[in-house]
């Protein structure tokens, strides 16, 4: 018993890391192995048809990891090149997407958090605004796109609007929920110390509700990053969503898979960033 524990006296994190690497190696290995170019014609010359079809099977196969890693290296070593409208570096495309997401997201935060505060503080505001929220919230953000394009008449701004509209709801509802749930004891502390309403809001209610608000912000940034890809596929021009769709049109599956992975990595980084902020405002009761 003691021996086994000492033998396995490696931290959980290290063991989890080893397991993750093993799983990755297994997955990549299988993928690579199953995707080897088929050995055709008994190793002889390729027929004309086979040459035309790039030496492939009758069904096209997904590119192997090795090809994707080569593409990743190419793209990441020169991320900011700009060779015309349909040929920009991955960094530029990501930059456009991030710009749209962050603009729409912070605009939403600017509106959602104060209104959420109001709704949380005032039962009247809650009852009056709740029906609107309940109707507007389930609408897929992309459904707004035609209306946005018609009214705003600008593809870029419309994409930002779609991000705005999809990130507003989790922040609004979480802020309202957090503010309404602030313990009466803490509000009483503010009252017995004669704090002005503004000071009460900033010194007591905001810090008390901050973890809940941050949870809403974290959900929102996740949704915004999901939606931007679809939105850019629709509006076209620039951005990582457009890039994916463009490479699909080019039948460049290697680039498609590479950008899918990149979307995942950037989404994770956005979430980590907000997670770090959430840690700053967290408190233990």
């Amino acid at each position: 018993m003691d021996r086994t524990t000492t033998e396995w006296n490696v931290s959980l994190n290290v063991r989890a890391g080893i397991l993750a690497v093993l799983l990755l190696a297994l997955f990549v290995g299988l993928w690579e192995g199953l995707n080897r170019a088929p050995i055709l014609g008994g190793g002889g010359e390729l027929s004309e048809y086979e040459q035309l079809m790039a030496g492939a099977d009758e069904t096209a196969s997904v590119p192997p990891p090795s090809a994707i890693m080569v593409r990743a290296w190419e793209q990441l070593s020169d991320p900011f090149y700009d060779a015309g409208p349909n040929d920009k570096g991955i960094g530029i495309q990501l930059g456009y997407s991030l710009f749209r997401v962050l603009t729409g997201y912070f605009a939403a935060a600017l509106i959602a958090i104060p209104i959420g505060f109001l709704i949380g503080m005032s039962p009247l505001a809650y009852k009056a605004l709740n029906p609107f929220i309940q109707v507007l919230r389930p609408i897929s953000p992309l459904a707004w796109m035609p209306l946005a394009l018609f009214i705003i008449r600008d593809a870029q701004a419309s994409a930002i609007f779609v991000i705005f509209i999809c990130s507003i709801w989790p922040m609004l509802l979480n802020t309202a929920f957090g503010v309404a749930g602030v313990r009466q004891d803490w509000v009483n502390v503010a009252r017995t110390h004669e704090l002005s309403p503004l000071k009460t809001a900033f010194q007591v209610i905001l810090p008390a509700a901050a973890p809940t608000i941050l949870t809403g912000m974290r959900i929102s940034i996740g949704i915004a990053w999901l939606v931007i890809v679809a939105a850019e596929m629709l509006v076209g021009g620039t951005g990582i969503g457009y890039y994916v769709w463009n490479e699909w049109n080019n039948l460049d599956l290697t680039s498609v898979i590479f950008s899918i992975l990149l979307i995942g990595v950037v989404g994770m980084l956005l979430d980590l960033a907000l997670g770090a902020v959430a840690k700053l405002v967290a408190y233990q009761e």
């Binding site: 004891d185 803490w186 009252r191 017995t192 110390h193």
Partner: protein, 318 residues
């Protein structure tokens, strides 16, 4: 008429009943006075409205009827001249112990420099024995330490009236004793007027100048104001040896166990102003039946002349 420091007159709390016309009256016609610098405890069974009275004095709740005046001004809403220590500590969990005290001090003296606010806050934390843990968050403190922070916060703002809502209710007996000593120390220094709810008879005797005894709710009232004439400074270990101690204690326990349920507002003339009857349990044994309410307000301030020479006597039937 006699202007007391705090004056509560004919206060009542009613809640609308399920059927109309049948209001639930928690307490009725509660009047009392607090003198400046006095330490008053209020004892009564759950549901008699002690906390409502306290919250009303704090400005956090309202009476259905009656008036509260402090230093000639009506109490209307919370204010910094009245400090509150809540049973559940009510510390802000995202602030450290020092920041929690600073929160109160800063609210009290807006013009003070940061350094002065910190220095003043630190002084009070030191007084309750917490100078080594000032940077800890409430979650990292024990229940007793949290209540000390709460007491430091309340006393540091130097309110004229301190309201303590069962501050030691959630603490174990040992911790409670230590903090009671600290409370005495800090109160002896500043001599604020204190109004405190407690369920603990010994605690009340140790701390109070007078103890208000409430009858059971609904329709509760403050029946008596018991004078505690034990000499100060009092110490937990010494006080039980005082010849008056058990007379007082037995009287209080008898009230809570036997008489609190029998006395009801309904038995009294509801109209008119009644202050709780002033009682000195020492020597009270012979006249243990509460005097018939004759509408004459008991004089709360000058009880010394009614003091009977202390002969430790058997208290009345129990």
């Amino acid at each position: 008429m006699n202007h007391a420091f705090v004056e509560v007159q004919q206060a009542a709390k009613r809640f609308p009943g399920a059927k109309d016309g049948d209001d639930l009256t928690v307490f009725e016609n509660v009047s009392f006075q607090l003198e400046k610098g006095e330490f008053v405890c209020i004892i009564g069974h759950s549901g008699c409205g002690k906390s409502t009275i306290m919250n009303a004095l704090a400005g956090l709740d309202q009476f259905s009827d009656g008036a509260m005046v402090m230093e000639g001004k009506e109490i209307d809403g919370p204010g910094l001249e009245r400090g509150v220590v809540f049973q559940n500590y009510s510390l802000l969990p995202w602030l450290s112990a020092l920041e929690n005290v600073r929160f109160g001090v800063r609210a009290r003296w807006k013009e003070w420099s940061d350094a002065k606010v910190t220095e003043h806050s630190f002084e009070y934390l030191e007084m309750v024995g917490l100078k080594d843990v000032v940077d800890r968050k409430p979650a990292q403190l024990s229940g007793g330490m949290r209540q000390r922070v709460s007491i430091a916060r309340a006393f540091a703002t130097k309110p004229k009236l301190l309201l303590l809502d069962e501050p030691f209710g959630a603490l174990d007996a040992l911790t409670r004793g230590v903090i009671q000593d600290e409370l005495i120390k800090i109160w002896t220094r500043d001599r604020q007027t204190v109004f405190m709810i407690t369920h603990d008879v010994d605690e009340a005797i140790l701390l109070a100048d007078r103890i208000f005894l409430m009858t059971n709710g609904p329709e509760a009232r403050i029946a008596e104001a018991v004078e505690i004439d034990l000499p100060r400074p009092r110490q937990r270990g010494e006080i039980v040896k005082h010849p008056h101690f058990y007379a007082i204690r037995n009287y209080l326990v008898d009230f809570l166990v036997n008489r609190s349920g029998e006395l009801r507002t309904a038995d009294l003339d509801r109209r008119g102003l009644h202050y709780p009857e002033s009682v000195n349990p020492v020597g009270h044994a012979s006249t243990d039946t509460p005097a018939a309410p004759d509408g004459k307000p008991a004089d709360t301030g000058t009880s010394n002349d009614t003091l009977v020479a202390f002969t430790p006597k058997e208290t009345h039937h129990g």
